[in-house]
Amino acid sequence: MHISEGILSTPVLAAGAVLTIGGVTLGLKKMDYEKIPEVAVLSSAFFVASLIHVPLGPTSVHLVLNGLVGVLLGWMAFPSILVALALQALLFQFGGFTVLGVNTFNMAAPAVASYYFFNFLVRRGNRSVTAVAAFLAGALGVGGGTFLIALSLVTTGEEFLSVARLVFLAHLPVMLIEGIITAFCILFIKKVKPEILEVGK
């Protein structure tokens, strides 16, 4: 989910860049040198996971998982998502360098919110609390992300309102699927390798 080059207005691009620089700086501060391989290889896993297409009725959607990234990595979601989007901009020209700030913020801000709302519940809660918290984290990641995308479009110009509304509505079912996948995934991680839930601290 990203906005392509050449669409957004200059103030929106600038605001996105400034906010992302702030978030990445905080994330890098949390990431000690010995954590770099951990965060990096988890980011590679998320990058590969985003290639997975899950069926949804007659179509399929690809996983975004920024809610899950947030719950696991906390503020380090900012650098993690930045490098992923930078690579996509380099290799596939999805998004791009001039919109890198906006796109990173749109995905990483809801991720960090997921961390603050749900990391504690996920780690300490019993099975059902964990499942519900993880579901909400996954849904919040995508939902917040699309909301911010719609907001970036609308603040660029009123004429984007109908496109922005369409983008948001189209992602409502994706929120549901992301929530379900995030819930099962976190239950799995908690059983198999609970240390991963501590990486973001």
Binding site: G6, Y33, A40, S44, F47, F188, K193
Partner: protein, 249 residues
């Protein structure tokens, strides 16, 4: 997984110093992104096309890329001309097509393609690792560049893990449909991928410590500017400045 589709080749652009590439490309694409109207973005597009010709990029792959990029632009073509305020030139029922709206979407389309083409021609023609190396020289935060380095290095490894897991599912007759079983299975697939990547990262770090890692990668090879690089730098920066001057006046 073959990711660097355009990096092979020996055109002029393939041989330019990656540091120079960043210094010349960033101002150019930022300028194009903030341009308004039709004429100036068109000049930008022409510059990008010249870069593409110099880089001698494989045309078929290039067109595939452009198709992907332009799908979102197509969505804008369907909506913006009808909702943009301006003089109506054509109407279907209650929907009025405005001339200003059409020009606005046209401008966006030109800008998007100009930026994408320039990026592929200039950055796509270098290997990712040499670009990361260049970023270190350009004083990007070290931790961020290291993160990028490891992240990129392990994508292909984890993609292999992913293919293995998927094959294991296929052997057990997994058939994706719209139901809970499918979502749970995909979730466990992602979970397993994360568990394996976490365990791998521990081994990587231990191996780094064994080899005396102290928080820094020594840079052994250094870039050297040639006359070619300086020429490219001068030409691109002059074009960018000229375009900026025209845009302001």
């Amino acid at each position: 997984m073959h990711l660097e589709e355009f990096a092979e080749g020996d055109s002029l652009l393939h041989r330019i110093d990656p540091r120079v590439k960043f210094i010349t490309l960033m101002p150019f694409i930022l300028l194009v992104a903030v341009l308004k109207g039709i004429e100036l973005p068109l000049i930008g597009l022409i510059v990008s096309l010249v870069l593409v010709i110099i880089a001698r990029l494989p045309l078929k792959k290039l067109i595939n890329r452009l198709l992907v990029v332009n799908t979102f632009v197509l969505l804008l073509w369907l909506f913006i001309p009808f909702s943009y305020p301006g003089r109506e030139i054509f109407s279907i029922g209650p929907l009025g097509l405005s001339q200003e709206g059409l020009l606005y979407v046209l401008s966006i389309t030109i800008k998007t393609n100009a930026i994408v083409l320039a990026t592929i021609a200039v950055l796509g023609t270098s290997e990712i690792f040499s670009l990361a190396h260049a970023l270190l020289h350009l004083k990007m935060p070290e931790k961020l560049v290291y993160l990028f380095f490891f992240f990129y290095r392990y994508i292909s490894v984890l993609h292999e893990e992913y293919t293995r897991l998927k094959r294991a599912m296929a052997i057990r007759c997994f058939h994706p449909e719209t139901n809970m079983h499918t979502y749970r299975s995909f979730a466990y697939l992602v979970g397993m991928l994360l568990v394996r990547s976490y365990e791998r990262s521990q081994r990587i770090y231990q191996a780094m410590l064994c080899r005396g890692f102290q928080g820094r990668f020594p840079l052994v090879r250094h870039f050297r500017l040639t006359g070619r690089d300086i020429l490219f730098l001068t030409v691109m920066i002059s074009i960018t400045i000229a375009m900026a001057v025209i845009a302001i006046t």
